[in-house]
């Protein structure tokens, strides 16, 4: 049977400017190149497919979806690997961003195609017609921004900056209907009219000794003058210890800020950005896609079986992740009794 054995992958490292120069080399015992090593990609995304035996994985899968993906997976997701797997090594903040729902992605992708915007155009927003749920699992202490804080709590935080010009936003956040107040203030914070107030707030952030503002001051130091600094104050600051995971569904604004983690996502590149980046920013479309409902960060608790397997099951059909702490020669799953084992989860007759 073709493609019936494990295949070593040759992978691509993306040199985005926010990446650490040394973190991946230190983790993997390789020589630094002097360039940032931001993302190691493992998968079949046409933008940077891994190769097996010199053949791009997307081509290998397209040649024989049944053998490579299994019939059930190919029927459900088509002849493509449904997920993309990465290692992130973050030195500076990533963009403040959000991902669309499937319906939004399908509509946006069709619209940009109809308007003749090439897929590789700088101003192209929708690169494909898929949603892009994602989950990050920390390998080192990791932190980021995720989801809107309840507006009254954000009002209190802004108040502690002592910037008089922030009063109208603080008042809106304290008195308005939460979703509408967040929408109004978020849009105002990103608008051109707020440029002087953003500069004043940024200066206050940099001088603040308030520990609750320290992460946001760090963003200001890393991205001076960026329109996203003040909007970031509306979002929860989340920290992950090694082994902890965070899920990000459609519409949830977020920005990873630092640390090393593995990330798994649907096989898509649909990202709408509004700040902390030199990439294409599309605020009007982002405003249409953002869910302005305040929400707690969606942490994913792994199911542990007590023998070193930790199974992360986020609410996305495209992907799941298991960490195995291998303690010796006992193989998994040949002698596996773990209920969470990736290969043992189904009876052999059901594996496709």
């Amino acid at each position: 049977m073709p493609h019936a054995t494990p295949m070593r992958l040759a992978t691509t490292i993306r040199p985005y400017d926010w990446g650490s120069v040394t973190a991946l080399p230190e983790l993997f015992g390789t020589e630094p190149t002097g360039e940032p090593q931001a993302e190691l990609w493992m998968g079949a995304h046409p933008g940077a497919p891994s190769t097996a035996g010199g053949v791009p994985l997307n081509e290998l899968i397209a040649r024989d979806p049944a053998a490579t993906l299994g019939e059930r997976c190919a029927e459900r997701f088509g002849p493509v690997l449904p997920y993309l797997f990465k290692v992130l090594a973050i030195e500076r903040p990533l963009s403040l961003q959000v991902h669309p729902t499937t319906a939004q992605a399908e509509a946006g992708f069709a619209d940009e195609n109809a308007r003749g915007i090439p897929l590789d155009d700088y101003a192209r927003t929708y690169k494909d017609a898929s949603h892009k749920p994602e989950m990050v699992c920390a390998l080192t202490p990791f932190h980021g921004l995720c989801g809107f804080r309840p507006p009254a709590a954000t009002a209190d935080l802004l108040d502690r900056l002592g910037v008089p010009g922030l009063r109208p936003w603080i008042e809106t956040l304290r008195t308005g209907e939460p979703g509408q107040a967040l929408r109004e203030v978020f849009a105002a914070m990103l608008g051109d009219a707020a440029r002087p107030l953003r500069a004043e707030t940024e200066a206050a952030l940099l001088e603040s000794p308030d520990p609750d503002l320290a992460a946001y001051a760090g963003i200001a130091r890393a991205c001076p003058g960026d329109p996203g600094i003040v909007a970031a104050l509306l979002l929860h600051h989340v920290t992950l210890s090694p082994g902890e995971a965070l899920y990000l569904g459609a519409g949830v604004p977020h920005a990873y800020l630092g640390g090393i983690g593995v990330e798994i996502m649907a096989n898509s590149d649909n990202v709408l950005r509004c700040g902390l980046t030199s990439k294409h920013v599309d605020v009007p479309e982002l405003m249409r896609v953002v869910d302005f409902t305040p929400s707690d960060p969606h942490r994913v608790e792994p199911a542990a079986d007590g023998s070193g397997a930790y199974d992360y099951r986020p609410p996305a059909p495209e992907f799941a992740l298991t960490r195995y702490d291998l303690a010796g020669p006992t193989p998994c799953p040949a002698a596996c009794r773990r209920s969470s084992c990736a290969w043992r989860a189904r009876p052999a007759s059901a594996r496709t």
Binding site: F28, A66, T68, C73, Y83, R313, L321
Partner: protein, 53 residues
């Protein structure tokens, strides 16, 4: 299910012949019959989530 195995620590053996060290990864096609992962270290296995046809 199609899986990708990533070694982040130590050394892991995937199936009979493939040894992974930190930063190295392997694709396990669906047709591969339960290859087994052994060794001493930490690996992450990515795969499709639970879905119903």
């Amino acid at each position: 299910m199609p899986a990708i195995v990533l070694c982040v620590e130590g050394e892991a053996r995937v199936g009979e012949d493939l040894t992974l060290r930190p930063g190295q990864s392997a694709f396990v096609p669906a047709a591969a019959a339960s290859p087994g992962v052994s060794g001493k270290g930490v690996v992450y296995v990515a795969r499709p989530g639970a879905f119903t046809l």
